[in-house]
């Protein structure tokens, strides 16, 4: 960007640190923010480079589940990783509250996956058995609840609901409060959050990364790519090939009501403040995140109304779409570049669930300068192996 263009931008936020940062995170969404928060607990000089409001912002469009059940089919290590994040979540929420005074709506009281037909009932049991019988898979209690058991847990379930799988390891958070708490912590701990700093070039000169932005060059000893769908492009600059694509999800929001749903469904939840979210649609629709469509919204609304029929009278107040960041196989990617050591990538489609693992496990690994051997399963080498085979 030329100096003339830069002149039309608002003046950049004053930086606390003028020198070389210990680490810079590219991307200020939930993944980047959680890692940056974790880095700041291990090192003093940390910065987050973010885009402006035109960014795709998966973090502002998600459902907020802290979810374990169903995850890890085909990669048991992902099941363990997810479970470890679930277990670290209370610690992260507590630490954020200590620093910022903000609570993030974490509720880990179990979660439900609804089944609406006999056929779904059988295939759900089969799926869960297969998932948990994979060699080396993390183990947790789950149960197929029949209608009567479900009625005891959720008031007003509809006559079509056959049952639901239940685990006590699932839960929810409020993703907007979470993002706010992380960014408030940045200010409290003098971490430099720098919006309107899209990175166009990454160089490494004399062991120091130089990141080119419209506001000049930012220098750091380490750099973490956490920019979601932009990781693909930025990865090329540090010798990483990161295959990610957008997968669109749409969400329907109902007006606030008194709280009646205390155990969330994977497709329907009630927020801490009473708002209802209906979601979990998955579409391959390119980058069209400004579009919602009646066929998907109607299906979402129909399933929710069949789950809890009283919701038919509750007004829809908003709907939106956002883009999940999907890797080729749907699992997260964590890797350090071999050609540009000190450059890491972190990308996934479960930024809320994995926030605690990102803050409390990935960040110390970055400061340490190496990912332990058991993380190699998450590297992009898995894609190369498949291509060779």
């Amino acid at each position: 960007m030329s100096e003339t263009d830069a002149g039309t931008l608002p003046p950049p936020r004053a930086r606390h640190h003028k020198g070389i940062y210990d680490a810079v995170v590219i991307g200020g969404g939930l993944v980047g923010s959680a890692i940056a928060f974790g880095l700041r607990q291990c090192a003093e000089h940390i910065a987050v480079l973010d885009e402006g409001d035109v960014a795709f912002r998966a973090s502002r469009g998600n459902f907020g589940l802290v979810w374990v059940q169903s995850k890890g089919m085909g990669m048991p290590a992902y099941g363990h990783w997810t479970m470890s994040s679930k277990e670290l979540w209370p610690k992260l929420a507590e630490r954020l509250q200590e620093i910022t005074g903000l609570e993030v709506g974490l509720e880990q009281k179990g979660g439900l996956h609804p089944v609406l037909t006999e056929q779904e009932y059988e295939s759900r049991i089969e799926f869960m058995n297969k998932l948990l019988s994979q060699p080396g898979m993390v183990q947790y209690d789950w149960k197929m609840l029949d209608r009567k058991e479900l009625q005891d847990m959720v008031p007003g379930i509809g006559p079509e609901v056959v049952g639901a799988t239940w685990t006590n390891v699932d839960g929810v958070a409020n993703p907007l409060k979470m993002l706010r708490a992380l960014h408030t912590a940045f200010d409290q701990q003098k971490l430099d959050y720098l919006p309107l700093h899209p990175v166009s070039e990454i160089d490494k000169i004399n062991e120091v990364f130089e990141l080119t932005t419209p506001h000049g060059i930012i220098r750091a000893h380490k750099v973490v790519l956490a920019s979601g769908l932009s990781n693909q492009k930025l990865g090329e600059k540090v010798g990483l090939s990161i295959p990610v694509r957008p997968q669109r999800g749409q969400i329907v929001v109902l007006e606030r009501t008194d709280r009646i749903l205390h155990t969330p469904f994977s497709t329907l939840r009630q927020m801490d403040e009473g708002t209802w979210l209906i979601g979990d649609s998955q579409e391959e629709a390119g980058y069209a995140d400004g579009v919602v469509g009646l066929p998907v919204l109607a299906t979402l609304a129909d399933r929710a109304a069949r789950t809890i029929p009283a919701l038919r009278s509750v007004r829809v107040v908003r709907s939106w779409s956002a883009l999940r960041v999907m890797s080729k196989d749907g699992f997260p990617i964590y890797e350090q570049s071999t050609t540009y050591p000190g450059a890491f990538v972190a990308t996934c489609h479960s930024g809320v669930t994995l926030a605690a693992a990102h803050a409390l496990r990935i960040a110390p690994m970055v400061i340490e300068g190496s990912l332990p051997d058991d993380m190699s399963v998450f590297s992009t080498r898995r894609f190369h192996v498949q291509e060779a085979a």
Binding site: T257, D258, R259, I260, E273, A310, L311, S313
Partner: protein, 102 residues
């Protein structure tokens, strides 16, 4: 507090629309919105916010602020400023967040 213009009072003569607000009979001018009827009858608030329980009453009078949500004929969260009074309408102040199930 709000007061009807003399022309408005005059227009009601012989043509008043009878409704009840919180069980009390109230006469309104034909064409009044529920929100206008509430204000004219001296009701500054018609609901509580769902999170903090703070009283709210009609504000924008044009359908955008949603502060005038109120229970009309048993239906909660109706926009008072966008609905005209009808004879026999039952208007009730909402206490707390709206309920999903009775």
């Amino acid at each position: 507090m709000y007061k009807r213009l003399p022309e408005s009072e005059q227009a009601m003569t012989g043509h008043a629309v009878a409704v009840t607000i919180n069980g009390e009979p109230v006469h309104c001018r034909q064409g009044d919105s529920v929100a206008a009827a509430l204000l004219a009858a001296g009701h500054a608030d018609c609901r509580d916010t769902p999170v903090k329980g703070v009283a709210r009453g009609p504000f924008c009078m044009m359908g955008v602020c949603y502060d005038c949500l109120v229970t009309i004929d048993g239906q909660p969260n109706q926009q008072g400023c966008m609905i005209q009074v009808r004879p026999g309408m039952v208007i009730e102040r909402q206490q707390g967040a709206r309920k999903v199930m009775a």
